[in-house]
C-alpha cells in the first residue's frame, strides 16, 4: 500500500535510488515485557483493524491461541513456562514482525515491489506483487512471514503502516491496557527502554536488557526483556543475522560477479560473431517436417 506520506527507502528486486527530498522520522514500537500481562488485547486489535479472522480452533493444551502466526494472525502472544534461577516464570512474548533495519525478507524477495521498506523503518508487504515463492520466509531470521493457503501470498505485521502514515499509532499500541506497548521515534523508544532497566535490576532481574539486535542492523520493534541474557527463553533468537547464502547473494561481490559474468557472455558473443559470422540456416530439405 504505497502511501504518499510514506517515503520508500528500499524495494525488493529493484535498484532505482530511493527518494531523498524529505526527512521523515524513524519510528519504533517498544514492547516492555515486564509490563505485559498477556491479555491478548493486541491480538484482538490487530484482527479488528486489519479485518482478519483466524479459525476458531482447538485448545491443544496451551494459552497460546491460535497456535501460531498465520495469514490471519499477524501478532500472537506466546506463553512459555520456564524455571529461571530456581524461580518459576511465565514468559509472555508478543510475537510479530520486528521490522529490521536490514530486512532479510526484502533482500531475499525476487518479486519487484512486493516488499518495501519505508524511510520510517517499517517493512511492508505489497501482496498484490507477491509471487508466493516463500523466499522471504527463508530470509527472515525471526520466522515471521506466513504463506497463505488461500491465495499463496505472504502476510505479516505492517506495523499498521496505514495508521502510521496518517499520524496514528499502531492498533496494538492504542489498545494495550497496561501501556506495555508504546510507539514513537526510534530514539525516544530506545531511551524509554533503557530507562526501564534500573527498576528491573532493582527488582532482581540482574540481566534485564533491551532487545535491538545489531545482526539485522537493529529493529523497529524493541523489547525490554527482564531476562535479557536469555532471549531464546522467550522465543527470540540470541543473535539474529541474515543467512550466509542470502548475504552472499545480495552482496557487492555477488553483484560484481554477476555483472562480470553478464559482460563476459556479451563479449564472448561478440567475439564469436566476429570470428564465425552470423548463424547460417541450412537450406530446407523437402519432407523435413515429417522427419
Amino acid at each position: 500500500m504505497a502511501l504518499q506520506s510514506l517515503d520508500v527507502r528500499n524495494v525488493s528486486a529493484r535498484t532505482s535510488p530511493p527518494p531523498s527530498a524529505r526527512t521523515t522520522l524513524e519510528v519504533a514500537k517498544l514492547i516492555d515485557v515486564s509490563r505485559c500481562i498477556g491479555c491478548k488485547a493486541c491480538q484482538s486489535a490487530c484482527m479488528e483493524w486489519n479485518d482478519l479472522r483466524d479459525e476458531i480452533g482447538v485448545n491443544a493444551g496451551a494459552y497460546t491461541n491460535p497456535p501460531d502466526l498465520s495469514d490471519q494472525s499477524w501478532t500472537l502472544m506466546r506463553f512459555t513456562e520456564e524455571e529461571i534461577d530456581g524461580q518459576l516464570r511465565w514468559l509472555i512474548l508478543k510475537e510479530g514482525c520486528l521490522h529490521c533495519a536490514e530486512p532479510g525478507c526484502l533482500k531475499a524477495c525476487p518479486a519487484p515491489g512486493a516488499i518495501v521498506q519505508y524511510a520510517s523503518g517499517i517493512v511492508d508487504f505489497h501482496e498484490e506483487d507477491c509471487i508466493g515463492c516463500g523466499d522471504c520466509i527463508a530470509g527472515c531470521p525471526f520466522d515471521i512471514p506466513r504463506l497463505s493457503r488461500r491465495d499463496s501470498k505472504v502476510y505479516k505485521c505492517t506495523l499498521c503502516s496505514d495508521r502510521v502514515a496518517v499520524g496514528l499509532e499502531p492498533a496494538c499500541v492504542k489498545t494495550c491496557p497496561t501501556m506495555a506497548i508504546s510507539f514513537g521515534s526510534k530514539t525516544d523508544m530506545r531511551f524509554a527502554a533503557e530507562e526501564r532497566l534500573p527498576d528491573l535490576r532493582e527488582r532482581g532481574f540482574a540481566h534485564a536488557a533491551v532487545y535491538d539486535p545489531p545482526g539485522v542492523g537493529g529493529t523497529h520493534v524493541l523489547y525490554v526483556l527482564p531476562h535479557g541474557d536469555r532471549p531464546e527463553a522467550y522465543g527470540l533468537p540470541r543473535d539474529p543475522r541474515l543467512g550466509g547464502v542470502l548475504r552472499l547473494w545480495r552482496s557487492g561481490t555477488a553483484r560484481t560477479a554477476g555483472v562480470v559474468t553478464l559482460f563476459s557472455v556479451l563479449v564472448a558473443g561478440i567475439l564469436h560473431y566476429m570470428r564465425r559470422g552470423p548463424l547460417e540456416v541450412p537450406p530446407e530439405r523437402p519432407g523435413g517436417k515429417e522427419a
Binding site: 515486564s34 509490563r35 505485559c36 500481562i37 498477556g38 491479555c39 491478548k40 488485547a41 491480538q43 484482538s44 484482527m47 479488528e48 479472522r53 483466524d54 479459525e55 476458531i56 480452533g57 482447538v58 485448545n59 491443544a60 493444551g61 496451551a62 494459552y63 491461541n65 491460535p66 513456562e81 524455571e83 518459576l88 516464570r89 511465565w90 509472555i92 491496557p177 497496561t178 501501556m179 506495555a180 527498576d199 532493582e202 527488582r203 532482581g204
Partner: protein, 806 residues
C-alpha cells in the same frame, strides 16, 4: 472499593489475594503497573495458581483453595507479634480499646452461643460492655484483657507460621517474606492496597475473608489512605450499580434492607435500623435512616404515601426468610415456584450443581428470559449431547424469550468498582425486535396493572398505587430514571438552622442527601445517588480529568457516591489532630476552621479535631471494627473453616467445627457432597482474560483467542494420571462429570498439607453449549450447592474432584 481504580497508583504494596486482576480486570490493572512504575510498589500475589497477575508479581505464594483466613489470620498474628501495627491509628480509629462482655468467648473452633440443632448462633454475647448511658467502655491503654486488642491477640495466637504453612501449603519462609512486605506499610507514610474479587467471595466463608483483610488494613492504618483500602473488583460493568440499587433479595436501594415478618410496622422497622451512638459525640450516620427510607417510599408511591398512612410501609413485601438464589432454586427444585423471570442472567451456568438446576427449571410452568443472547438457560430444554443431555419431551416448561439491548445500544449510567457513576450514550440501534430492559419491564408492568384494574385480585394496592410519572409510560427513559434515583423536593426544603433559607424549592432536583427529610417533603429513589443529577444537570456526564492533588483524585470526572467522595473514610488519612499522616498524600485535612482537601471530606465539615469525632461515620461507635460484634453469622473474628468439600478430616484450627458452622446446607444437598477418598483433588474455578463470563463466546474474536474448554493440571498430577497436554480428560465430582482438554502446567504445584501432598485442579468456566466456541460442558456441573453463611454466595472456589483420561 473503599478507594477507586486510579488511586491504586498511590500504593507502596499491592496485595492481590482472592482475585486475578491482570486476567479479569486488565484495564484497571494498569494502575497496579503505574504503582510499580511511580511508587516502586511491590506486587504480592497469593493464589491457588500462578496466574497472569503472578507473572508480573514481585512475590508469589501458592495456597490451597479455601485457606485464605488461615493465611490472613497468620498475617494478623505476625503483625501483632512483631509490633507491626500503626499504634496511634489503631488506638484512635479502631475498636481495639473497646471492652467486650464477660460472657464472650471462643473455644476449639466455636464462639459462644452456638446452637448445633439450628446451625446458628445466639450472638448476644458478641458485644461491648456498656456504661450507664449506653456507651461502650474502653481502655485506651489496650491492656485490659477484655479489650478487643487483647481478645484479638488471644484469638490469633494459634495462627503460627508453622500451622499456617501446614494448612495452606505455603512454605513458612514464603509466608514470612510476604508478612514482612505487608508489615512494611504499618508506618504512616507507606500504604498497602488490597485487591480482591470472587476468589474471596465465592466461599462458604466469603464474607469473613473480606473481614480478615479489613482487620489487617486497620492494624496497618491503611483504611482511608490514598493507596490503601479494601477494594472489591466487581465482575460485571454494572454489578456495583445492581447492589447500590438494591437488586438483591434482601435489599432496598441504597443498602436499606427489605422488611421481614418481624417488622410489622414502620416504627418497628425504623427503630431496628436507626442505631444510637455507642460513643459520645459520634456522627452515627445511620441515625438518618428514616430520612432515606421515607424519601424512598415517596419515590415509590408518590402522593399516595403520607405520614398518616406510614408512607405506605404496608405496601412493601415482608420476607419470611431470605430469598437468595440458592433458596429460590431449592424452592423451584421442590416444585414450589411456577414462573421465573430471568433478566440478564444465565443461572444454569452461574448457580451451582447444573443437574439440580436443570431438574428445577423443568418443574417451572413458565420461564421468561430477557437477554440479548441465546443463553444456555433459554435452551436448557434442548438436547445438546454430552454437555446437555436432556429429553426435551419430558420438559414441559414454556420458555418466553424477550430480546433486550446490549449496553452500547442504550443511554444510561454504569457504576464502576470505584463507585463512579459514569454516563454513557447509545452508540448503535439494537437489532431486530430487541428493546431496552426498562421498556420491556414497563410493558409487563402496564399489562399486569391493567389486569389488576380490570379483574382485581389479591392485594392489588401496591401495583395500582405505584407512582409511574414517565412521559412515555411504556418507555421510561434513562434520564427520567436517573433523575428519580437522585430525588427531588416534593415541598420546599428549608435549612433546619435557618428556616427562612430554602435549600430546594418544590419540584427541584436535590443537591445532596443531606437535604433528605423524613416528613415526606422529599423523594429519592436511591439516597446514595443523591447528587448525581442535580439542578445543575447530569453530574455523571462530566468529563473533566484534571487532578489537582496529583493523587489521581479527579472530582470533575463523572460522579462518585456518596457525595462525590472518592475515598471512603478519608478522615482517617489524617491523624487525630487533622494533619495528613503522610505529607505526600494530602487528601483531606483540618485547616483550622473546617475540613478541606482534594477529596470531599468524610466528616462533618465543622467537626473540630478536639471533638474526637471518629472517621468511620457509618458505625455508631465511629471507629473501624476489628471485632464485628453480632453482624456476622459465624463469628466476630474471622476464623478458618475448611470448605464443605475438604481433603482434611479435621480442622487443625479447632476440632469442634470442620466447615463453617453457620452455613446453610439443604438436606438434599448434603447427600451430594463428596469425600476425599472418592475425589482426591481440590478444584477451583475462575475466569480468563479472553472471555467475559458466558457472553463473549458468542463473539468471534474472543472465540478465536480461547476456542475450547480446558482444565489446568500440575505436572505431578498429570504424571500420576498419565495425562499429557492436549489430552481429553474427564473431571468428576459427586454431582457430575465434564469432558475437557488437559493443559499440563508448571504453574500449579502439589502442596504439602498436614504432611500429605494435595493437588489442585484449575477449571476456567467460559464454555457452554451455545455460542461460537467449541461446545463445552458447563463447569458448574461439578460445584456444590452451598453458600456463604451471611450472603449465600456459592462456594465455586473450593471443592473436590477426580480427573482421569477420557
Amino acid at each position: 472499593m473503599t478507594n477507586h481504580w486510579t488511586d491504586i497508583q498511590n500504593a507502596d504494596v499491592v496485595l492481590v489475594m482472592g482475585g486475578n486482576p491482570a486476567e479479569a480486570h486488565p484495564c484497571g490493572f494498569k494502575w497496579v503497573i503505574e504503582a510499580k512504575a511511580r511508587k516502586k510498589a511491590r506486587l504480592v500475589v497469593v493464589d491457588p495458581r500462578f496466574t497472569r497477575t503472578a507473572a508480573v508479581a514481585d512475590q508469589f505464594a501458592q495456597l490451597r483453595p479455601g485457606t485464605d483466613i488461615a493465611f490472613l489470620g497468620g498475617v494478623i498474628r505476625w503483625l501483632l507479634e512483631h509490633d507491626a501495627v500503626q499504634h496511634e491509628y489503631v488506638k484512635a480509629y479502631t475498636n481495639a480499646p473497646f471492652l467486650l462482655r464477660e460472657d464472650y468467648g471462643f473455644e476449639e473452633g466455636l464462639f459462644t452461643g452456638y446452637d448445633e440443632a439450628k446451625r446458628s448462633y445466639d450472638r448476644s454475647s458478641w458485644a461491648y460492655q456498656l456504661d450507664e448511658q449506653g456507651f461502650a467502655r474502653v481502655d485506651p491503654s489496650l491492656q485490659d484483657p477484655r479489650c478487643v486488642y487483647q481478645a484479638m491477640r488471644r484469638h490469633y495466637a494459634r495462627y503460627t507460621p508453622e500451622l499456617v504453612s501446614s494448612v495452606t501449603g505455603v512454605p513458612v519462609e514464603t509466608f514470612v517474606e510476604i508478612c514482612r512486605t505487608i508489615a512494611s506499610t504499618a508506618v504512616p507514610d507507606r500504604t498497602m492496597t488490597s485487591l480482591y474479587a470472587l476468589g474471596w467471595t465465592q466461599h462458604t466463608v466469603g464474607s469473613q475473608n473480606i473481614r480478615a483483610i479489613a482487620c489487617v488494613q486497620l492494624l496497618l492504618g491503611n483504611m482511608g489512605m490514598p493507596g490503601g483500602g479494601v477494594n472489591a473488583l466487581r465482575g460485571h460493568s454494572n454489578i456495583q450499580g445492581l447492589t447500590d440499587l438494591g437488586v438483591m433479595s434482601h435489599l432496598l436501594p441504597g443498602y436499606l434492607t427489605l422488611p421481614t415478618e418481624a417488622d410489622p410496622d414502620l416504627a418497628s422497622y425504623l427503630a431496628k435500623r436507626t442505631p444510637k451512638p455507642l460513643r459520645p459525640g459520634q456522627m452515627n450516620y445511620w441515625s438518618n435512616t428514616p430520612k432515606f427510607f421515607v424519601s424512598l417510599m415517596k419515590s415509590f408511591w408518590g402522593d399516595r404515601a403520607s405520614r398518616e398512612n406510614d408512607f405506605r410501609y404496608d405496601w412493601l413485601p415482608k420476607n419470611d426468610k431470605p430469598y437468595d438464589i440458592l433458596q429460590v432454586f431449592e424452592l423451584m427444585h421442590q416444585g414450589k415456584i411456577d414462573g421465573y423471570f430471568c433478566q440478564g442472567f444465565n443461572p444454569i451456568a452461574s448457580v451451582p450443581d447444573k443437574a439440580k438446576l436443570t431438574a428445577a427449571l423443568a418443574k417451572l410452568r413458565y420461564l421468561v428470559i430477557i437477554d440479548p443472547l441465546a443463553t444456555e438457560t433459554s435452551t436448557f430444554w434442548q438436547n445438546h449431547g454430552g454437555p446437555n443431555d436432556v429429553d426435551p419431551a419430558a420438559i414441559q416448561t414454556e420458555v418466553f424469550r424477550l430480546p433486550s439491548t446490549c449496553f452500547a445500544e442504550e443511554d444510561g449510567s454504569l457504576v464502576n468498582s470505584g463507585r463512579w457513576l459514569q454516563w454513557h450514550w447509545k452508540a448503535a440501534d439494537p437489532p431486530g425486535e430487541a428493546k431496552g430492559d426498562a421498556e420491556i419491564m414497563a410493558a409487563i408492568f402496564l399489562a399486569v396493572r391493567e389486569l389488576y384494574r380490570k379483574e382485581g385480585g389479591t392485594f392489588p394496592d401496591p401495583i395500582l398505587g405505584l407512582d409511574w410519572p414517565y412521559a412515555i409510560p411504556h418507555a421510561p427513559s434513562a434520564a427520567e430514571l436517573a433523575r428519580e434515583f437522585n430525588g427531588r423536593a416534593v415541598a420546599d426544603v428549608t435549612d433546619p438552622k435557618d428556616p427562612k433559607k430554602v435549600l430546594a424549592r418544590a419540584g427541584e432536583q436535590l443537591a445532596t442527601f443531606a437535604h433528605l427529610r423524613d416528613d415526606g417533603s422529599t423523594a429519592s429513589g436511591c439516597w446514595i445517588f443523591c447528587g448525581s443529577w442535580t439542578q445543575a444537570g447530569n453530574q455523571m456526564a462530566r468529563r473533566d480529568a484534571s487532578d489537582p492533588s496529583g493523587l489521581g483524585n479527579t472530582p470533575g470526572w463523572a460522579w462518585s457516591w456518596p457525595a462525590n467522595r472518592r475515598i471512603l473514610y478519608n478522615r482517617a488519612s489524617a491523624d487525630p489532630a487533622g494533619r495528613p499522616w503522610d505529607p505526600d498524600r494530602r487528601l483531606v485535612f483540618w485547616n483550622g476552621r473546617a475540613w478541606a482537601g482534594a477529596d470531599v471530606p468524610d466528616m462533618r465539615p465543622d467537626a473540630r479535631p478536639e471533638e474526637e469525632v471518629a472517621p468511620f461515620i457509618m458505625n455508631p461507635e465511629g471507629v473501624g471494627r476489628l471485632f464485628a460484634l453480632g453482624l456476622m453469622a459465624e463469628g466476630p473474628f474471622p476464623e478458618h473453616y475448611e470448605p464443605f468439600e475438604t481433603p482434611l478430616a479435621v480442622n487443625p484450627f479447632g476440632k469442634r467445627a470442620v466447615s463453617n458452622p453457620a452455613a446453610r446446607l439443604f438436606p438434599g444437598d448434603r447427600a451430594r457432597l463428596g469425600t476425599a477418598r472418592d475425589f482426591p483433588f481440590v478444584a477451583t474455578t475462575y475466569r480468563l482474560t479472553e472471555h467475559f463470563h458466558f457472553w463473549t463466546k458468542h463473539a468471534r474474536i474472543p472465540s478465536i483467542l480461547q476456542p475450547e474448554a480446558f482444565v489446568e493440571l500440575g505436572e505431578a498430577l498429570a504424571e500420576l494420571r498419565g495425562i499429557r497436554s492436549g489430552d481429553r480428560v474427564a473431571v468428576r465430582s459427586r454431582r457430575g462429570e465434564i469432558l475437557v482438554k488437559a493443559l499440563v502446567t508448571k504453574r500449579i504445584r502439589p502442596l504439602t498439607v498436614e504432611g500429605r501432598p494435595v493437588h489442585t485442579v484449575g477449571l476456567p468456566i467460559h464454555w457452554g453449549y451455545e455460542g461460537l466456541t467449541k461446545p463445552g460442558y458447563l463447569v458448574n456441573t461439578l460445584t456444590p450447592f452451598v453458600g456463604d453463611a451471611n450472603i449465600q454466595t456459592p462456594e465455586f472456589k473450593a471443592f473436590l474432584v477426580d480427573v482421569r483420561k477420557a
